[in-house]
């Protein structure tokens, strides 16, 4: 167990106590106190009982809630247990003290355990939001991040994909990422990622992304039911302890540990059903044919009607063209979900343990997708003596993810990310009229009976920490952690599915090994009763090695072989890869408070990273924060309604190194590189070719990205906990984002990395918790609301703040991140008066493809040249909209009546624009080149619900759906498709009923201590103005994913038994 290292009572008394303890411990009158600790359900084992101010002396309650302790007469006993309000009771001569514990409002422990030191929540001077594992347990999701949605202020989780086991987005206090990866712009990966610290081992997204083979979320290796608490370090003063990787916040995860008491065995399972998702609108069979013919007749000119009606539409008797395939039907299915957890925990004064094992199995709603994980978590603590303590934890898991077939099955590349799970994309389906052969159908629907596609992640991490307390005030601790992860993708596709008739197989394997060594020295002291001091000095070294092997071959001799074997040398290709990382850090932190009232924290950290150029190896990260516990002042103590009130402020600087790879700083040469268009040649004339890597040239000065953050906040507990909450306001300036800047191309290079860009995030966030009814009431209603307002803005860009265009996103100084870039459309040209006319010549304006006409989108002529074009000098595309949410948050309502409980979580996002890309693509399907045969071959959505332009005189809101008009009229990059992106989602409802062992004989006979039945509905309903399916399912740029993985509704029923 954690030693409580803060001494809270007056210093002089403590000093005296200590002195006597050493010199004449028997001189003081010692009495033995016993008692029984219960909660409303009965005896409570495992409650920590300590003497206030004397953290080394203490015990825990046993199986029947009984404790016994030697105390002095004037001591105060402190009873603590996770999930309960702690109680303080003065001894005052009593020898029997029975205690009733009440469940705490937020169930939070009083101490935040960071990797380096513990922070007493009451005395924390920085912005930290926390939840307990209880709030996220037994919800049907594979990973922890997904479950944090709407739970914590300042944390914005957008689940843009419902695919089991993949990462979505978790952003703390606003996005800071401007894409700079060498792969270029990736709309699926446009979020800044926090640093995760799981049981003291730091893991950042960028380190697992290197050489990743499976695309599985690394957090999916952790069973969410093993989590005891999650603390989010939001401001720089807290995060500065993690220095160079903390600029985007830190997520501290602590797994459950054993408590003193008799062994407890707990078994938990839930089983669920996942609803088949809603389909993208499309017309099938005859309806499709009718609607297409209608459009052709409506828009076609005489000659087009005479010569250009596709046979496919007219020849309805041809078996090749008279089908009615519903492709989405082939892919969507109802899913299933299963979870089993079993754990054993217990402990004595000398040893405590918790060992948990879990199985999670989710079958996705898209065919051939799913995730299955086996996990084991073992936390054991040994107290060799009062002074020497060993804490260990071991976590192991292996997970297999099925990622669908994807559209690129003949290629040796994985398809593009989150969208590519369908063989036939729902937004660009072919016509339902086309015939599919049995083999086509089987290979699409049932690829895994032909193909092998295994994505397997295995993670093992272990850490041990030895703590030695000496000279009363000091503790020396030394921790070693190792992390070993592998991920592996094996893929094989038979010759019958290959265009060139050659079977293909691939085997890719990656391995990460990491160790972290941390030594720390802690000093705690109270001087003259009122001066509480503690200081911590840490030295840490981290080293990581990523290795990978890639092997692939064409022309596997037999379709039965699902590995790379028997391939001719010329068709075999492969290589192995290696990168390493090392970091050396020194950390000093200092806390001082005067009489528990005036609080101050100072943290200073120095990091040297192997990623950076020789001129800038070291980075320094200072922070300082102040707090005033106003409720300790006499004049507030007199106010009845204020229980606790704290005002705090902080400043600090943290770093980020994710935008540069492990070895980017080297001027690498590419070995075996002589490729040219159409060829991956590694040689010229048969001899190995080596060329410099012209993707970018090195820069010795590159250094950390830094964020400087100010934060002020208030924490308050009012009316003895009936109402509590906190408000924080912050501004965070992130500078030195690493971006590519252009250098003259006659050097052979076109770009170099430099610390050039900056983003500012500022906002206000608050949390409110209330207990509406008095404690004694049998019916309880506890609502809690959190909201985070954030505004982000680009403050600096490379090349002299020149606007930065990336695909269809744009960055402009003074504007938010990832604005849309495209044409502004003011409705449709419904009447001749809407046409742009050059007043000097009288000529009607035109596009690149001809004169503007009725029925075209009414594009705005931004540069006033009577020409709608994206050519240089005629550019009419401009930036508009903002995909960054202004407000996100969650609203939780917890109701309980006797043994019933209901919890309803609602999450919301407001104040952003999204682009209805699905609509654009559905309407433009087949219209792109204005070719009637393209139009015939593409599927069509039910357009009768839209007001599109059909003939002159119409007052339409959407342009003409003319199959002969090739105007790119339906491209997504137009304000035409911009829609409000707000949504309110009833995220989940939890119902539970607890059977009390005292009431049921059979439970006692079966030695069951606790039994709980529960049910959950996840993703119940969404309220939105967006006309598409799901306003949450959008990429980082705000383009919705009609071809992405749906967020399905899940129903589960569960059972939890404790022995």
């Amino acid at each position: 167990m954690n030693l409580k290292l803060y001494k809270r009572s007056g210093g002089l008394k403590l000093f005296a106590v200590l002195a006597f303890f050493m010199l004449a411990s028997s001189a003081y009158a010692q009495v033995r106190v016993t008692g029984k600790v219960t909660d409303k359900n009965g005896p409570l084992p495992g409650v920590t009982v300590q003497i206030k101010g004397k953290t080394t002396a203490g015990t825990n309650t046993g199986a029947q809630g009984i404790y016994e302790l030697s105390v002095s007469d004037n001591d105060i006993l402190v009873f603590r247990m996770l999930g309960f309000e702690s109680r303080e009771i003065p001894v005052n001569g009593k020898t029997v003290i029975d205690v009733l514990m009440t469940e705490s409002q937020n169930g939070l422990d009083e101490v935040i355990v960071t990797g380096y030191k513990n922070i007493e929540r009451r005395k924390a001077t920085s912005a930290i939001s926390s939840i307990t594992g209880k709030e996220i347990e037994n919800l049907p999701a594979a990973s922890l991040d997904v479950l944090l949605q709407g739970k914590l202020s300042g944390v914005n989780v957008q689940n843009f994909s419902g695919q089991p086991g993949v990462k979505t987005s978790l952003v703390i206090r606003g996005n800071t990422k401007i894409s700079a990866s060498s792969d270029g712009f990736d709309a699926d990966n446009l979020y800044s990622n926090p640093l995760y610290v799981i049981d003291g081992i730091p893991i950042s997204d960028d380190e697992v992304r290197a050489f990743d083979q499976t695309g599985t979320n690394f957090l999916a290796s952790l069973n969410p039911n093993d989590v005891e608490s999650v603390d989010i370090l939001k401001d720089a003063s807290a995060a500065a302890m993690y220095g160079s990787r903390a600029a985007n916040g830190v997520v501290l995860v602590k797994t459950k540990r054993g408590k003193i008491g008799a062994p407890r065995i707990s078994f938990n399972t839930y089983q669920g059903y996942t609803q088949r998702p809603q389909k993208v609108s499309t017309l099938i069979g005859a309806a499709e044919r009718r609607q297409k013919m209608d459009l052709i007749y409506n828009y076609g000119t005489n000659s087009q009607l005479a010569n250009n009606i596709p046979i496919m539409l007219t020849d309805s008797l041809n078996p090749a063209f008279n089908n009615n395939n519903d492709y989405q039907d082939l892919f969507y299915q109802s899913g299933a979900i299963q979870n089993y957890d079993i754990s054993a925990s217990g402990g004595s004064e000398a040893v405590n343990y918790r060992i948990g094992a879990g199985l999670y199995d989710e079958k996705g709603v898209v065919i051939n997708t799913g995730y299955k994980r086996y996990s084991l978590n073992s936390n054991v603590g040994i107290n060799f003596s009062k002074k020497l303590e060993l804490l260990t934890s071991i976590r192991a898991s292996t997970g297999k993810r099925l990622d669908g077939k994807g559209s690129s099955y003949t290629l040796n590349n994985r398809g593009s990310g989150y969208r590519d799970v369908f063989s036939v994309s729902p937004v660009s389906m072919p016509s339902s009229l086309l015939q599919m052969s049995d083999n086509d159908l089987r290979s699409v629907v049932d690829p895994y009976s032909f193909q092998r596609n295994d994505n397997i992640n295995t993670d093992i991490s272990a850490n041990g920490e030895l703590r030695y307390s000496f000279l009363n005030d000091f503790r020396l601790s030394s921790r070693g952690a190792i992390n070993y992860s592998t991920n592996k993708n094996d893929y094989a596709t038979p010759s019958i599915l290959a265009e060139d008739g050659r079977a293909f197989a691939r085997s890719n394997y990656s391995q990460y090994r990491k160790y972290v060594l941390t030594n720390s020295l802690l000093w705690i002291r109270t001087i003259a009763e009122k001066h509480n001091l503690n200081a911590n000095f840490v030295q840490e070294f981290e080293r990581r090695k990523n290795e990978a092997i890639y092997l692939s071959g064409y022309g596997i001799p037999n379709d039965n072989i699902k590995v790379v074997k028997g391939v001719a040398a010329a068709d075999l290709s492969g290589y192995s890869d290696l990168s390493t990382y090392a970091k050396l850090s020194f950390l000093g932190s200092f806390h001082y408070d005067y009489a528990d009232k005036y609080l101050m924290d100072v943290v200073w950290r120095a990091d040297a990273s192997s990623r950076f150029g020789k001129n800038n190896k070291w980075g320094y990260f200072p922070s300082m924060s102040l707090g005033w516990l106003a409720s300790e002042e006499e004049f507030i103590k007199n106010l009845d309604w204020i229980t606790e009130l704290k005002i705090r402020g902080s400043w600090g600087r943290a770093g980020d190194e994710s935008s540069i790879g492990d070895v980017d700083r080297y001027n690498a040469y590419l070995s075996g590189n002589a490729n040219y268009e159409g060829s991956d040649a590694t040689t010229y004339g048969g001899g190995t070719a080596v060329i410099p890597n012209y993707n970018g040239i090195t820069n010795d000065d590159i250094t950390w990205q830094q964020s400087e953050e100010w934060n002020v906040g208030i924490d308050a507990v009012l009316w003895k906990g009936r109402l509590s909450g906190s408000v924080d306001a912050y501004t965070r300036n992130t500078t030195g984002q690493m971006l590519r800047i252009a250098i003259p191309e006659y050097t052979g290079y076109t770009s170099t990395f430099t610390n050039a860009a900056g983003v500012r995030n500022s906002g206000i966030e608050f949390t409110l918790n209330a207990r509406i009814l008095p404690e004694k009431s049998a019916f309880q209603w506890n609502p809690s609301l959190n909201m985070s307002f954030n505004k982000n803005m680009v403050t600096a860009l490379p090349n002299g703040n020149r606007d930065l265009y990336y695909g269809n996103a744009v960055y402009v100084v003074g504007k938010p991140l990832n604005m849309y870039y495209g044409y502004i459309v003011d409705g449709v040209i419904n009447s001749p008066s809407d046409l742009i006319v050059n007043p000097y010549t009288g000529a009607v304006g035109s596009t690149k493809w001809g004169t503007l006409r009725l029925g075209y989108p009414n594009w705005r002529d931004v540069n006033g040249d009577y020409m709608i074009s994206d050519n240089t000098g005629q550019q009419d595309q401009t930036f508009f909209g903002d995909p960054n949410p202004f407000v996100t948050g969650g609203f939780t309502n917890f109701f309980s009546y006797k043994n019933f409980s209901v919890q309803v979580l609602t999450t919301f996002t407001f104040g952003r624009d999204i682009m209805n890309q699905t609509l654009a693509q559905r309407l433009s399907n087949g219209l792109f080149y204005g070719s009637a045969s393209d139009f015939a071959q593409a599927s069509i959505t039910d357009i009768s619900q839209y007001n599109y332009w059909r003939q002159s005189g119409d007052n339409a809101t959407l342009p003409a759906l003319n199959p002969f008009m090739s105007l790119y009229a339906w491209r997504t990059g137009q304000s035409l498709f911009k829609e409000p992106g707000w949504y309110i989602r009833i995220k989940n409802i939890n119902l539970g009923y607890r059977f009390e062992a005292q009431k049921y004989k059979w439970m006692q006979n079966a030695k069951i201590n606790g039994l709980r039945l529960y049910g959950t509905i996840d993703n119940i309903a969404i309220f939105q103005k967006f006309s598409g399916i799901d306003a949450e399912r959008v990429d980082g740029q705000g383009y919705d994913y009609g071809d992405g993985y749906p967020l399905p509704t899940k129903y589960t029923l569960g059972l939890q038994v404790e022995f």
């Binding site: 000279l471 005030d473 000091f474 265009e499 060139d500 008739g501 050659r502 060594l517 020295l521 000093w523 030295q539 080293r543 064409y554 010329a570 890869d577 290696l578 990168s579 390493t580 090392a582 050396l584 192997s610 990623r611 070895v663 080297y666 001027n667 690498a668 040469y669 590419l670 070995s671 590189n673 002589a674 490729n675 040219y676 268009e677 159409g678 060829s679 040649a681 590694t682 040689t683 010229y684 004339g685 048969g686 001899g687 070719a689 080596v690 060329i691 012209y694 040239i697 820069n699 010795d700 250098i743 003259p744 191309e745 006659y746 050097t747 052979g748 290079y749 076109t750 050519n871 000098g873």
Partner: protein, 511 residues
Amino acid sequence: MKFYNKKYRTTALLILLAMAMGTVVSCKKALENELSNDTYADTFWKSGSDVESAVLGAYGLLRKSLNQNSCFFIWGDVPAGLFSSDQGTLATDLVTAGSFTVPYWEEGAHNWTNWYRVVDASNLVIENVNKMPDVAFASVQARNAYLGEAYFLRALTYFYMTRVWGDLPLQLTATTSADQAQKMGRTEAAEIIQQVISDAQKASSLMTWESASTYQKRRASKGAALALLAHASAWNNDYAKTVLYADSVVNRGDLFSLQPQGAVLDVFSQSGAPENIFAITAKNSENEAAAYTDYVFTANVAFLTVSSEQKPGMPYNPAYYYIPVNVADNLYESGDLRKEAFFYTSNRGGTLAQKLSLKKYANIAYKNAASTANPLAESNLVIFRLADIILLKAEALNALGDDGGAVTAANLIRERAGTTDFDLSVDFGPALKRKIVQERERELIGEGQTYFDVVRNALNTKDRGFFGQIIPLWSMSADRFNQKGYLWPIANSILNANRLINQNPWWMGKL
């Protein structure tokens, strides 16, 4: 308090010291984190084989530059008006209107970045070989050969670029860190061509004749350097030198001789063919052949010029760029064997038979020999061959007033083609010049030469009328000619990144 303080301090310091010493020493090296999955500037350039692979890398980059959007073909052949296309105005505007904006081909046709990579790779070889000791190489001769190849590649690259874009930024040093990248403007074309000539002369003196046979002419030799010098001198309107350099190649009959009648196309399948002087190879047997990119604009020239009837699996029939039969009839006199040898006529008759496709790039392999689904183009890109040099010599002799010598030289090629000799009594003076250029057109069609032949002669004679004489489909207006409209435009991305680089005058505002 004081008593403890001191004790605390000593203990704490000792512990800290021990902790710090232990790890600082061991992790100093780890923090340097040496790159081990690639070689890099500091560790390379140690041995002859390092240089060998760097030189081959430069050849690879040259192959990439030539193949990017098949630019050598788009520059050298398409504007000359011989080819035609059924694939819409994107394909035909260049043919019929001399429109060099070529949408979708710009990356190759307007952007010189790839070519500057060849320059940088050559600069690296030149700088580093000069720093390396002789003992790193098998022999001094080997060392000189590498240097010679690097000079040759740099010269050839600048020669291509200056013919296309005129004035160029002159980069003669390698760039090894970002701060060396300084902005500079363009150097006059006249200076660039001097640089080409001086580099090629260095190359010629550093390389041997024998390397032509050692490397099967897929790498540079003294002969290649001299062929380049002949071309560069002609471009520089120094025809006397052209004759000199051409002769020194022609005289090495042991290394370079004309293919026998009927075997001319061997130069595309065998780099070591007697007639080749320097060719870029892409052999399927060496895994270097090009597959179809599923996008015609980035496809290898074979996928543009060879029809699917000619070679199964090709994307077009008729070919994307074909020769209309009447153009061929006009160009080749009856009896000219080349019409049969260079072009394929459809068996299917009708309009297809009116559209001939080129045979020069029809060396096609298949990924899976059993099926023909994935064709791989493996023809050589012939940079210099003897027929080219002989006809260039003829052009030079004509320009120098030696029409007799010119006719003799040109007739070597005409005789092999089985057609009638030039007759000095009718073919002389400017008419002969035109006929020689047309002879080059007939012989070298599809090899990226014709348009540059026209520009060279128009510039040397200061007569824009030459365009109209050879290219009947579009004319070079006086305005366009004066504003250097015969040059190609420079990509906007290059202009945007560097204000010191200006667009070629005719193309200002036209992209």
